[in-house]
């Protein structure tokens, strides 16, 4: 028996097994669906959904289609993931740096935080925040205003809403600021490379960021008002807030739990990254006369980021996937709206579960592609 045949046989057997398994499943699915009178297809997506979702970023009610319900769920999932990633990154970086602090108490407190939140299942934490902690909040009529405008109640957090006029002018000004900052940054780099002069880019950018949008308020006719939530009595026992923006308690509990949990992992990534830079780098940088801030910004961080980013990306992916636990506390995310309610109504298990899984798969893959690109950009270019 020669080498080619020996390589071919296991491959053929594997393909055969895979095909047989898939064929077996397909035939069974076909007979099962025939028996139940269901026809495979995605046509149901355009049908009327006729169920309501209590929290949605886009306009939606029962008369919209299943495809629209899917979009509502997807946007809610992305919202949770987005807020969670921002909070957990900020918290994680702070805790990670605190773990390296020379101050014994700070280092121990950070370690305690990490060990505490990392070793309790996320689902339990979500339940704790939602069923135990947030249920202890006051009723809408008893809530006291925080700083006069925020109301934290058992029905959620009510915050003032921005009321904009001529919002587009404001957006254009922000766009102009971003473009000019990029131009200035390039100019400053050229200036430094050619003539050795340094421009205070940070202050210029900050100044632009404040002045240009401010100008639009003064000249461009942009105005910003606040709509403060006001309590309104519906009946003797029922109160609601009108106006303002209501953030449901499910969203608060979910983001809080996700952020606190993921921050522990990000903190460990940050710590490992900074510890991974050899002491010599820091000492060498200090010895050529850089200030401690410059050492951190120009020498330590660029190197540490290379170690920190890949595992942190993984944590972002985990957070996005973990946001599907929303279904446990009835936050209308993709799993609850689509794989829960829509599946229950249509009974199309195969189509709906496969769409849901493919959605998560594409979110995961696109985040990892994005991060790989970034990783490649900041990687050491060896000459």
């Amino acid at each position: 028996m020669n080498a080619t045949v020996r390589k071919l046989i296991p491959q053929l057997i594997t393909i055969l097994v895979v095909v047989l398994v898939f064929g077996f499943f397909t035939i069974n699915a076909q007979t099962n669906m025939d028996n139940r009178g269901i026809e495979f297809g995605y046509g149901f997506l355009s049908q009327e959904a006729s169920f309501d979702v209590q929290f949605s970023l886009i306009e939606y009610d029962g008369s919209h289609s299943y495809a629209r319900a899917y979009l509502v769920g997807l946007l809610n999932t992305l919202l949770v993931a987005f807020i969670g990633i921002i909070i957990s990154t900020i918290l994680g970086v702070i805790i990670g740096i605190a773990r390296l602090s020379p101050n014994y108490l700070i280092e121990r407190s950070a370690a305690f935080y990490v060990e505490f939140f990392r070793n309790i299942p996320l689902l339990l934490q979500i339940f704790f925040w939602y069923f135990a902690a947030l249920r202890a909040l006051p009723l809408p009529q008893d809530a006291e205003a925080i700083m006069g405008v925020f109301f934290l109640t058992i029905k959620g957090l009510f915050v003032p809403r921005f009321v904009w006029e001529n919002l587009d002018v404001f957006f254009y000004s922000i766009l102009a600021v971003i473009i000019s900052i990029v131009v200035i940054k390039n100019y400053a780099r050229r200036l430094q490379e050619n003539e050795g002069k340094q421009l205070p880019v940070l202050y210029i950018s900050l100044g632009l960021f404040i002045i240009l949008p401010l100008l639009t308020f003064l000249i461009g006719g942009v105005s910003l008002g606040f709509e403060i939530p006001v309590i309104k009595q519906l009946s003797t026992t029922s109160f609601v807030y009108e106006g303002g923006l209501g953030i449901p308690p499910e969203l608060i509990a979910l983001t809080l739990a996700l952020a606190l949990y993921t921050a522990t992992f990000i903190a460990e990534c940050v710590r490992a990254g900074i510890q991974g830079i050899s002491k010599g780098q820091k000492e060498a940088a200090a010895s050529i006369g850089l200030t401690p801030n410059q050492v951190l910004k120009l020498v330590i961080m660029p190197q540490a980021l290379r170690i920190i980013i890949p595992p942190t990306t993984n944590q972002y992916l985990n957070l996005t996937k973990n946001s599907s636990l929303a279904a446990a506390i009835a936050y209308p995310d993709l799993v609850l709206v689509f794989a829960g309610t829509a599946l229950m109504q249509t009974g199309r298990a195969i189509e709906i579960v496969s769409i849901t899984m493919l959605t998560y798969l594409s979110i995961s893959l696109s985040i990892s592609v994005l991060m790989n690109w970034y990783n490649k950009r900041i990687a050491i270019t060896e000459k």
Binding site: K7, N28, P102, P121, L123, F127, F131, A132, A349, Y360
Partner: protein
């Protein structure tokens, strides 16, 4: 006596600074302590805001005065070096101490002093603290689920037997040692399955049949994590080998499989196992819910285990492969006797972390209607006789999970240290 410069403490008047500084520091601690434990405000003569930040200011001045380098007093130098390097650090130090002191009394009162454990009804809980009576009464349900009270000894015995059998690896006989791998990978899982099947499920040897729907609580958490742990390991190992195989079909199938499971959340996998999977089976074929869940979680975790093992395989120097090949070993011989023993040793911490994640993922099985401890808590919480004790339940479960997971992570950390020194 030299002139005292309070802005710049020096060694000249060390003792003066030391006495003033430490007494100011202790006054600030005392102020917070009395306020937290005895509700006595010793600075009540000050305006409210000043009285609130009084300990911080006094403490800061105190710490500033004792911040003298190289005093020669060992304790003082340790304190200065660790918690008092500069003003910012001193502020943080004081804040942390204050937070700890302030949070102790309410926590102690809730957990111990004002808590109740006597009695067996809700009415026994009169204190403002936790109602541990609730946990006491529901303990059996939290541990055994809906499993009938009379048969719970069966769960206990099977767990004790399983643990005892797991320690067989410590037998000293050299002769039997070479069979240990075989024992742990093949024989032990089979014994475990038979034990669980006949002892806990029953249905033979005069034991009453208990359906899996009645299983629950902490024991179900253990059963699910135990079986998933046993099954996901070999599957993950084959996937890792497949991903590094020279044969393109095997490699691409393994990559596709691993990336698929790693890309989806566990909850959708469980949804799939409960609503989509039955559609793919023959109509008269029935598979138990628990079995479906265990298969689903095992496949899911196997993908993660595969990636960990791949890391170990990649970390081995190429020379090991070449040396094994030059001895005339085939693929399987090379992997079983040379590569895998070394690679698996390298990845023990990684695998332990994956198992830790697995244990933390088990509460998710509530989506298919199996009630392990968190699920039982949610059930108990809605019992009309015991409304309003959600906090106690979650705190109880959190403590249990924390102990399990912390012990596991410490163990894996120790293993890591152990194998680090050996190489």
């Amino acid at each position: 006596m030299n002139k005292l410069n309070f802005l710049k403490p020096d060694k000249e008047n060390l003792h003066t600074y030391l006495y003033i500084g430490s007494s100011l520091f202790f006054i600030s601690i005392l102020d917070v302590f009395l306020g937290a434990f005895f509700q006595i405000n010793i600075t009540s003569f000050l305006p409210e805001f000043l009285s609130f930040i009084f300990p911080l200011i006094i403490g800061l001045i105190g710490l500033h005065l004792i911040r003298i380098e190289f005093t020669g007093i060992k304790n003082l130098d340790t304190v200065n070096k660790n918690i008092n390097t500069n003003t910012f650090n001193a502020v943080l130090t004081l804040l942390i101490i204050f937070v700890i002191i302030k949070s102790l009394p309410p926590l102690m009162s809730w957990f111990i002093i004002d808590a109740n454990i006597a009695g067996d009804t809700k009415e026994a809980c009169t204190g403002t603290g936790a109602c541990w009576t609730y946990i006491k009464i529901w303990m059996r349900r939290f541990v055994y689920g809906m499993y009938p009270n009379d048969y719970q000894w069966r769960i206990n015995i099977s767990f004790i037997l399983l643990i005892a059998l797991a320690f067989v690896g410590y037998i000293p006989s050299e002769k039997l040692k070479k069979f240990l791998t075989l024992y742990y990978v093949v024989i032990y899982p089979i014994i475990a399955f038979i034990l669980i099947y006949y002892l806990i499920s029953g249905g033979a040897f005069g034991l009453e049949w208990v359906e899996t729907g009645a299983w629950g609580g902490l024991s179900l958490t253990f059963i699910v994590s135990f079986f998933c742990l046993i099954f996901c390991f070999p599957v993950g190992m084959f996937l890792a080998l497949g991903r590094r195989s020279q044969l393109p079909t095997l490699r691409y199938i393994s990559i596709g499989f691993i990336e698929f499971w790693r890309g989806v959340p566990l909850i959708t996998v469980l949804f799939m196992s409960s609503v989509m999977f039955p559609m793919f089976l023959p109509e008269d074929f029935f598979m138990d819910k628990l079995v479906r869940v265990i298969i689903a979680i095992s496949l899911f975790e196997a993908a993660y285990v595969a990636e960990v093992i791949r890391g170990g395989l990649q970390a081995l120097p190429k020379g090991q492969y070449e040396a094994a090949k030059s001895l005339g070993m085939g693929y399987w011989k090379m992997h079983i006797f040379v590569i895998l023993p070394q690679a698996l040793k390298l990845v023990i911490p990684g695998i332990a972390n994956t198992f830790l994640a697995l244990v933390k993922d088990t509460p998710l099985i509530f989506v298919v209607g199996l009630l392990e401890i968190v699920g039982m808590l949610n059930l108990a919480k809605t019992n009309p006789k015991w409304l309003g004790f959600a906090m106690e339940g979650y705190v109880f479960a959190a403590i249990i999970f924390w102990i399990i997971c912390y012990a596991m992570s410490k163990y894996s950390y120790n293993l890591e240290l152990k194998y680090k020194t050996e190489r």
